[in-house]
Assembly symmetry: C2
Homo-oligomer: 485 residues x 2
C-alpha cells in the first residue's frame, strides 16, 4: 500500500517540504478528528491561535526562525483525493464524503501576524498569531510547531555559539548528527540566521545560498602511504584552498608535516590556508601547533578546531587565549543541545513551543480563552495579543504584552513585534533573503542587554503584562471554573 | 540562484529522501574535495569503510535502523549537470570538467554488507561494511551517518520505552517536537521498528503503513461553551472511537463529565473508548480518575496518559501500579533524549556513529587501517570485519568481532550478523516490510539478556575481539608511527 506513493509525481519546494498533492497529511490525527467534529456541528467560529514558548530551555532569549516554512505550508495546504481515499480505507470509517471534500478544497482565508525571522523573543510572547476558522487553523498545528520549534532552537543555539566565538568563524558541521535530512538542511538555514559563517553541507549551500566549506577527513590521510604524501596530494589539487587535518597519527608531527607542505606551496606562490585539530586537548595542542607553524614561517596559516564544541567549550578556550581561528561545530549545534557541556546540566534537545487558542469570536464579541488547569505551568495568556518593545540608545529596554488593540504606556515609544504576513488568505509579506535575515539577527543580538546574553547566570529580560491582560486573567479564572461544570 | 531548484521536477521517494536529480548533494564539502584529489592522483584503490558506534549514549545496547534509506541513497546517488554547473559557479574553481563528469556519471560498483534493521548491536561492532573505490564510497558518508545515527537512536529509545511499558500501548506523539519533517517521518518509522504501537502523525501512516491514532486537544474543549458540550459533540461524531481529554479545566470534573458522556453513548450502543490525562501528577490523577470511571460504570473505558513521558517515568508509574492503559510519548522519544529524566543525567540527543576506513587493497594485499591518535577514545578497529553471535536456549550469549574470513572459536555455533545487501553494485537484498522488521526486533530484544536491558545499572554485553584483530592492532600501532614521519 505504501508503495503507491512511489508512483506519484512528488515535488519538494524550496522549503524542504514535501510539495506533493498532500502536504496537508503532515498533521496529527486528532487535528482531523476535531475538524470533522467541527464540520459536523457547524462550528465555523473565528478564533485566534498563538504560537509561543512557555519556558526557554537554555539561556534567557530565543531567536525566532521558521516562519517562511510555516507560511509555505499554509499557502500550499491540501490533501488530494487519492489521499482522502487512503484515509477512508485506513481510518476505520471515522470520516465521510463531506469531510473529504472539505479537505480537498481547503483554502485558508484568515490572517497571520508574526514576528519576522531573526527577532529576539522571550517566554510567553506570541511569536505567531493565526486568526481564522477554528475548523481550518487547527490543521496547521503540527507542522507549525515542528518547523518553528526546531529552527528557533537552532537559530538560538547558533547565536549563543557565535557570540562565544567573539568574531571568529563558526561553521556548521552538523549534517551527520542531525535528525534526518530536513534537520540538516533546515538546521543549516537556522544556524546561518543565528550567525554562523557557513556550512559543510553542500545541499544547504544549494538550497539556501549559504557558503559551504570543507577540509579533509582522516580517511584521506589513512588512504595514502604517509601523512606527508596525503597532504602533498591534497595541496596539489587545492593549492589555493588547503586545510590539512593534522591529528590522524600524531598532531605535532602532523603540524611539522604541514610546515613542509606550506613551504612547498609558497614556492609555487600559494599560502597554506590552515590546519585542523579534531581531537585531544585543544588548548594545549593549538598552542603547540601555533608555535610549530610560526617557527616554520607559516604565520598566516590558520588553526581550525572541531570535536564536540559548543558555546561553553569555545568560551573557555578563548578565555584561555587558545590560538584558534575558527570553529567547526557539529552535534551540539545541529541538535540544539540544551545543556551545559561542562557542568552536564540541562534539558532535552527540543523547544517546547505550543500553539494554543487564545480568543474566540462569538457574534460580535471576542471571548478571550485561557487554559488554566491544575498544572499552573501549563497556563496560557488569554486574548489576541501584540508585543510591544522599547529601546533606548540602541538597546532593548523592556517588552509589554498587550491585548491586540491596546496600547502600552504612552510615556514611551514602542514598536509592535507582530507584523502582517497574510491578510484574508493573501500573502502580503515580502520574505527577506537569508542574508537579510542574518543581518537583522545580528542587529537584534547587538541590541539585547549584555546580561541577557551570558552563558552563565543570564539575566531575565523584563517582559510586562498589560493592565487589560491582567484583568482578563482574573475574570477568566472564575468563568472557566463555571464552564467546567 | 536558489530559486532555480523550484523550477525542477523533484521527487521524493518512499525513503523520505529528495529523489531529484541531485540527491548526491547531501554530502559534506570535504567529500567532494577529497574525491577530486583522488581523481587527480588516480587513487582508484579499493577500500572498506565501516559504520559503527564507539559508545552507546544511554543503556547497553542499540537497535540498528536506517539501512533501507542508506541503500536507496547509494542506488540513486547522482549529481546532475545543472548542479555541477552550480558547483562550478560557487566553489571558487575547486573543480574541473573531468570531476564534474565523474559526478554526473556516478555509479556504485562495490559491495555492501550490513546487519539487517532491527538487529541488536553493541559498541565497536561494524553495522555496515561498504567496499568499493575509495574515490566513490567516501561520498556516502554524510547521508549514511545522518540516517543511521538518527533512526538507530530512535529505534533504541523506542525499544527502551516499550519495554518499560510492559505490554501496554505506546504511541509516538513526537511530530511537533521532532527536528523537522524527516525527523518526524523517519522517527515514526524507527519508533515503530523499536516497538511502538502507532503514531499520531498521519503522513507517517501514509508513507509507512504505521497505524495512526489520535484523541483531542485542549483547543476543542476551549472552543465550546462547556467541557461537557465539547465531549458530547466529539462523541456524536465518533461514537465508536472517542478518547476525551479531561484536563483542560479540572481533571476530576473532567472525569465526571466523561462519565455522563459514557452513559449517553451506552444508551446508543457504544462504549466510551478512553480518557486522556496530559498534566499533573499522573499516578494520583490516574487512580482518582479510574475510581470515578469505575464508580460511573465505565470499567471498560481506558486511561491514556501523556506529558513528558519516557522509559524512566513510565517504569516508575507502573511500579507504583498507576492504572494507565496506554502512553503517548512525544519529545523524549522523537528526539532520542539520551538522559535520565528523573536524575537529569545524560548525554546529547544524538548517536555518535562514525564511518571509517578499515582496509585498503594494494595490489593483491589487504592493508588493514586503524586510526590511532593521541586520543585513544577515537581509535578504530582495523580490518574488514564480521561480527559473529552465539545463542543458547533462545538467549544471546556473546559476540566475537573477527577479520572478514576468520572464523570464531569452533567449540560453538555462531552466526554472522553482516549479510550481503549489494554485490558488485547490484542490490540483492529483499527488504522486509516494516511489520517484519518490527517482529524481528521484538525477537532480538527477547533474546537479549535481561541485565543488558535494564533502565538502571544495565550490564555490558560480552563482545570479544578475535585473535587476528588483536594481532593486527599490535602490528599497526608500530607501523602507523612510522607512516606519520
Amino acid at each position: 500500500m505504501s508503495g503507491s506513493l512511489n508512483d506519484d509525481d512528488k515535488k519538494m519546494s524550496r522549503s524542504g517540504l514535501i510539495n506533493f498533492n498532500s502536504i496537508g497529511l503532515f498533521l496529527d490525527y486528532y487535528e482531523l478528528t476535531m475538524a470533522k467534529a467541527d464540520l459536523d456541528h457547524k462550528n465555523f467560529n473565528i478564533i485566534t491561535e498563538n504560537y509561543y514558548v512557555r519556558k526557554i530551555p537554555q539561556g534567557a532569549y530565543l531567536v525566532s526562525a521558521g516562519l517562511e516554512q510555516v507560511i509555505q505550508f499554509i499557502e500550499n495546504f491540501k490533501i488530494a483525493k487519492e489521499d482522502t481515499e487512503w484515509l477512508n480505507s485506513t481510518s476505520g470509517k471515522d470520516f465521510d464524503e463531506k469531510f473529504y471534500k472539505y479537505l480537498q478544497d481547503f483554502k485558508f482565508g484568515g490572517d497571520v501576524y508574526a514576528a519576522p525571522e531573526g527577532t529576539v523573543i522571550f517566554p510567553n510572547e506570541p511569536i505567531i498569531n493565526i486568526t481564522g476558522r477554528s475548523l481550518d487553523i487547527q490543521l496547521f498545528e503540527t507542522y507549525l510547531l515542528n518547523v518553528m520549534n526546531y529552527q528557533t532552537l537552532i537559530a538560538t543555539k547558533a547565536s549563543r555559539v557565535v557570540r562565544s566565538a567573539k568574531g571568529k568563524d563558526v561553521i556548521d558541521f552538523g549534517a551527520r548528527r542531525a535528525h534526518g535530512r530536513d534537520a540538516a538542511i533546515l538546521g543549516a538555514r537556522a544556524a546561518f540566521i543565528g550567525g554562523v559563517t557557513g556550512t559543510s553541507l553542500v545541499m544547504a549551500g544549494r538550497i539556501w545560498d549559504i557558503p559551504y566549506v570543507g577540509t579533509m577527513a582522516h580517511k584521506f590521510v589513512q588512504d595514502r602511504e604517509s601523512e606527508l604524501n596525503a597532504f602533498r596530494e591534497y595541496a596539489e589539487s587545492f593549492p589555493h584552498n588547503s586545510i590539512l587535518l593534522i591529528d590522524t597519527y600524531d598532531t605535532l608531527k602532523g603540524a611539522r608535516n604541514a610546515c613542509i607542505i606550506g613551504k612547498e606551496l609558497r614556492k609555487k606562490g600559494f599560502e597554506l590556508k590552515g590546519v585542523r585539530l579534531d581531537s585531544g586537548n585543544l588548548l594545549d595542542l593549538s598552542e603547540k601547533v601555533r608555535k610549530i607553524l610560526d617557527d616554520g614561517g607559516l604565520t598566516q596559516t590558520k588553526i581550525f578546531a572541531s570535536n564536540d564544541l559548543d558555546e561553553f567549550v569555545i568560551e573557555k578556550l578563548l578565555q584561555e587565549n587558545a590560538p584558534i581561528d575558527g570553529f567547526g561545530v557539529g552535534t551540539r549545534l545541529i541538535t540544539g543541545a540544551n545543556y551545559n557541556s561542562i557542568t552536564h546540566e540541562g534539558n532535552v534537545s527540543a523547544l517546547n513551543g505550543i500553539y494554543k487558542i487564545v480568543e474566540r469570536i462569538e457574534g460580535d464579541t471576542a471571548i478571550p480563552k485561557m487554559k488554566m488547569t491544575d498544572d499552573i505551568s501549563k497556563a496560557t495568556l488569554p486574548g489576541r495579543k501584540q508585543v510591544y518593545r522599547r529601546s533606548e540608545s540602541g538597546r532593548f529596554i523592556e517588552d509589554t504584552i498587550t491585548i491586540w488593540d491596546e496600547k502600552p504606556d504612552s510615556k514611551y515609544d514602542w514598536h509592535p513585534l507582530l507584523i502582517p504576513i497574510i491578510k484574508n488568505g493573501k500573502p502580503i509579506f515580502d520574505f527577506p533573503s537569508l542574508d537579510e535575515i542574518k543581518e537583522y539577527t545580528v542587529d537584534q543580538i547587538r541590541m539585547l542587554p549584555d546580561g541577557v546574553k551570558k552563558n552563565y547566570g543570564a539575566q531575565e529580560y523584563p517582559v510586562k503584562l498589560s493592565n487589560q491582560i491582567n484583568e482578563l486573567i482574573n475574570n477568566i479564572l472564575q468563568s472557566d471554573k463555571d464552564n467546567s461544570q
